[in-house]
């Protein structure tokens, strides 16, 4: 069967790694992903472990890498993916990598700093140019026309005489646009008309050197007189963080200054260009170095973290590590250790040690079985060497889905979609897609493939293709025979709008349709009466068989773990209870299908009433028995089923307690092997694997002692769960009926309300063809959205629930943990 039937055997191995070769060995193990290290230094904090210094250095390097990565991203460049698989570098290379990286980071920081400075300077120059360049009318006009003393216009009457002798001064600068109005207001309020201010927006937008946003600064020119006013103005402008530039009154001087500024800014721009070219060179070097470096350092850090989990031997010559390894991989492990430590002289060894705890579960899957194992593991990873439900789930899950989804058309669409994904699975574009919903569908492509395939099959059996039935074979019901023999003349038919075919009349019912449901039922108005009965009985039959299969799988668990007594004391009563009651129900259904003919239809026995009376030990006079000794058989079955309950409840605990008492009474000599056997079964009683002894060596004494109340309690819970569960789980399988009914009805409604309206509209051929196009589009969209996606998800969920609860609680505990080997594979992606 391979390893999918139950998990592989996993052993605990002890590795002796010579100190010199420890790094290489662990690095090789990481490349192969063979073993899972156990932390031997769990009590030691992270800061006190042996290789903490190396780990810290790796982390510092990673910080530098992050900084470089951020810079590359800021410049709008992309980091290429690392090429090939680089192994973790030896420890002596760490220094070299560190130096290179630090050098690059320093260069990058310097260049960036220079660039910032230059840009700030350029910004200042540009502002100055703008301030000088723009003409501010009123203040200059005021300066020119109004002389220093007497030719003052009455508008500017100063409060006192002596002020008339003061010279007009200027303050020129630039302010951010959103502060301009506030500045103007404050200036006016503070200086009370002793100034004339003019604000103008700059013509071009300048890039802010810090944020990079283009903003339009406002330049202003303030003319004032009076020293105190001047001081006030300067304080106000300083408060508003305005840039103030010296303003020369004579026009030529200003023009000269402007020219000088322009020259300066040109030179500055050249220098800036050079700086940016150098920056891109540095970034190019970073792009080359970074991907490989990041991967190498990540691997190195992982190796050191793994080495931190090893303990040091007493001689300090080698490291001791404990790891879980699959037994089949042990030879490979030995080989790898030998190869890696060949230069060190002393070779590393690994040998198996007995394990105290439950080993992890390892089940190897390929890309087909992985999705099915995934849905089993989503419920819970199996205990060590427990029977794995996945190989059966590969078929039963799509089958139960298809029972709820059965439609040829919808199944075909789902199958084709999955087929497209499967055929395109190796394309890199498909693998690199980031959309999560697509990834979910893509991961389950084999699941969808099987689900679609089975849905096509069940669609043929239900005889539904987009809710339409097909007559591949001729129908088994003859309407003509009924009409001719019952005298259904045209007048008679016109008077009666609904007429029923009677199977008792010869020639009307010609035999069962050979493959699936007869197509006449899709034309009948009472088709639900027939289909409901059929689907309910089908659900119960499938459910009882599925659950019985689950109980039988439990047999393999009992045999493997050496709990033979459970076969007689648990499996047998369980089977008697399940099959005696619900297996008998299935028998009744089959018997009625085979033996109750149409001629007796008036007095046909009701299975439901028989089943109820079976439990109540009573009988209904109007309900005739199905077969001759029915009452006796039912009586016997109920008694057997009720008798199996106390066996299930008390059998195993009493057996275990009696065995313990026997062993305690025996002499000490024979006790050791029996002790081992008892501890095995104790251990198994609490549910562990065969290799495991309960607890550490110190607890052997307590392990012998079975606590009676615990054992009885555990068994009582199991019994109640099983017996009540039988009833509720059988009823739970009726969801197969409910969902298939819902799907059929939704599909029917969509056809009747959308497509049929367009197909049966009595329009001219050309017009109807045109009308059909949008109607079909609506039909297609609604089919995909409602019937495929919504109903598909719903049926998926319910099939999953049936597996997880109704099937798996008969034999699967799912309380293990997976073997997660030490591997670099996740980082290579």
């Amino acid at each position: 069967m391979g390893s999918m039937f139950r998990g592989e055997e996993v052993a605990l191995v002890q590795l002796f790694l010579p100190t010199a070769a420890a790094y290489t060995c662990v690095s090789q193990l990481g490349e192969l992903g063979l073993v899972e290290f156990r932390d031997l230094n769990a009590s030691v904090s992270a800061f006190q472990r042996r290789f903490v210094v190396d780990v810290r250095r790796c982390e510092e390097l990673e910080k530098t890498f992050t900084f470089l990565q951020e810079e590359v991203r800021r410049a709008g460049l992309a980091l290429p993916l690392p090429v090939g698989r680089l192994p973790a570098p030896p420890p002596r290379d760490l220094l070299r990598i560190q130096e290179e990286t630090d050098r690059l980071a320093q260069e990058l920081r310097d260049v960036r700093g220079n660039q910032q400075e230059l840009r700030a300077q350029l910004h200042q120059l540009q502002l100055h140019e703008a301030v000088l360049g723009q003409s501010h009318g009123p203040p200059l006009a005021a300066a020119h026309t109004d002389g220093p003393s007497s030719e003052r216009s009455p508008l500017l009457l100063p409060p006192g005489g002596p002020h008339q002798d003061l010279k007009v001064n200027f303050v020129a600068g630039a302010v951010e646009p959103h502060k301009a109005a506030a500045l103007e207001r404050l200036l006016w309020r503070a200086c009370r008309g002793f100034l004339i201010a003019s604000f103008q927006e700059m013509e071009q937008q300048l890039e802010d050197p810090v944020t990079g946003e283009p903003t339009r600064w406002m330049t202003f020119l303030i003319s004032y007189w009076g020293e105190q006013i001047g001081q006030k103005i300067r304080k106000i402008t300083a408060c508003f963080h305005c840039h103030i530039f010296p303003f020369l009154e004579p026009e030529e001087a200003r023009r000269g200054a402007l020219q000088q500024l322009q020259q300066q800014s040109q030179e500055l721009q050249e220098v800036l260009g050079e700086t940016e070219r150098f920056l891109s060179q540095v970034l190019g070097r970073v792009q080359q170095l970074l991907p490989a470096g990041q991967m190498q350092i990540r691997k190195m850090k992982a190796v050191y973290l793994a080495l931190n989990q090893c303990s040091v031997s007493s001689t300090h010559k080698c490291l001791i590590a404990e790891a879980w390894c699959a037994v089949l991989d042990l030879p490979t492990l030995q080989q790898v250790l030998q190869d890696s430590s060949s230069e060190a002289g002393v070779s590393a060894v690994a040998h198996r040690i007995p394990c105290q705890d439950m080993p992890p579960t390892l089940i190897r899957t390929n890309r087909f079985t992985a999705s099915f194992q995934g849905i089993v593991d989503a419920y819970g990873v199996g205990r060590y060497q427990e029977v794995n439900p996945a190989p059966y789930t590969i078929i039963t899950f799509p089958f139960l889905f298809a029972v709820m989804f059965g439609d040829v058309g919808h199944g075909l669409l789902m199958f084709l979609f999955a087929l497209a994904m499967v055929l395109a699975e190796n394309r890199p574009a498909v693998k690199a897609a980031q959309n999560e919903i697509w990834q979910t569908f893509f991961g389950g492509r084999y699941l969808l493939l099987l689900m679609g395939l089975f849905s096509v099959y069940t669609g043929f059996i239900y005889n539904e293709c987009f809710s339409r039935a097909t007559t591949i074979f001729p129908s088994g019901w003859s309407v003509a025979a009924m009409a001719n023999q019952s005298g259904w003349s045209d007048a008679y038919l016109a008077r009666h709008s609904l007429l029923t075919l009677d199977p008792n009349i010869s020639g009307v019912f010609l035999g069962p349709y050979p493959f699936g449901i007869d197509p006449v039922w899709s034309l009948a108005t009472n088709h639900l009466s027939f289909l409901n009965s059929f689907k309910m009985k089908m659900s119960v039959i499938l459910g009882v068989i599925h659950m019985a299969f689950g109980v039988i799988l439990g047999v393999f668990n009992h045999v493997h773990f050496g709990q033979g007594h459970k076969l007689l004391l648990e499996t047998l009563p369980e089977l008697i209870f399940l099959l005696g009651l619900f297996g008998y129900l299935v028998f009744l259904v089959l018997y009625k299908w085979l033996c109750v003919k149409a001629a007796d239809s008036a007095s046909a026995p009701s299975i439901l009433i028989h089943f109820i009376n079976m439990f109540l030990f009573s009988s209904s006079p109007t309900n005739r028995p199905l077969y001759h000794a029915q009452e006796v058989v039912q009586y016997v079955l109920v008694v057997l089923a009720l008798a199996s309950v106390p066996v299930l409840l008390l059998g195993t605990p009493l057996y275990l307690l009696r065995r313990q008492r026997h062993l305690q009474r025996r002499p000490a000599g024979g006790q050791d092997e029996d002790k081992a056997k008892l501890m095995d079964s104790d251990a198994c009683e609490s549910g562990w694997g065969p290799d495991e002894k309960a607890g550490c060596s110190g607890d052997e004494k307590e392990a012998e002692q079975l606590i009676a109340s615990e054992v009885f309690m555990h068994q009582a819970i199991h019994t109640i769960e099983f017996c009540l569960g039988c009833i509720s789980n059988t009823a739970s399988y009726l969801r197969l009926w409910a969902l298939s009914l819902a799907h059929a009805q939704l599909s029917e409604v969509l056809w009747a309300m959308v497509m049929r309206v367009a197909l049966s509209a009595n329009l001219r051929v050309g017009v109807q063809a045109v009308v059909l196009v949008p109607v079909f589009a609506a039909f297609a969209v609604l089919t995909v959205a409602i019937l495929l996606v919504m109903e598909g998800l719903s049926a998926f969920l319910h099939a999953l629930r049936l597996h997880w609860v109704e099937f798996q609680n008969k034999f699967y505990s799912g309380t293990g943990y997976k073997l997660s080997p030490f591997t670099f594979a996740a980082e290579d992606e």
């Binding site: 391979g2 089958f399 059996i461 074979f473 003509a480 075919l501 199977p503 069962p512 009985k537």
Partner: protein, 110 residues
């Protein structure tokens, strides 16, 4: 699908020529469906897949899984088909049809 040779409107006026009917089936010329033949065919088919198929699976790491898949498929599909045909073997009531349906199916499915 079987199509009538004449349109329903003309048939309703009973101008169709009478057709020869096989003996033993008054009022129709449809042949009876046997029950034994489909059972034999499908039992053989799924039996080949489920019982004989496993012998032909090539040796390899996936042999166990493929055998399980074949057997499970055969069991599930055979069981489902069997339930469908057994449910229709002895019908206790027949389909209730609208008179329009009777008018055209009566002659369509002959």
């Amino acid at each position: 699908m079987l199509f009538a040779s004449c349109a329903p409107e003309t048939c309703a006026r009973r101008t169709c020529p009478p057709r020869p009917r096989p003996a033993g089936h008054p009022g129709s010329d449809m042949t009876a469906h046997s029950f034994a033949l489909p059972v034999i065919i499908f039992t053989t088919f799924w039996g080949l897949i489920g019982i004989a198929g496993p012998w032909f699976v090539p040796k390899g790491p996936n042999r166990g899984v493929i055998i399980t898949m074949l057997v499970a498929t055969a069991v599930c599909c055979y069981l489902f088909w069997l339930i469908a045909i057994l449910a229709q073997l002895n019908p206790l009531f027949g389909p209730q049809l609208k008179n329009e349906t009777i008018w055209y199916v009566r002659f369509l499915w002959e």
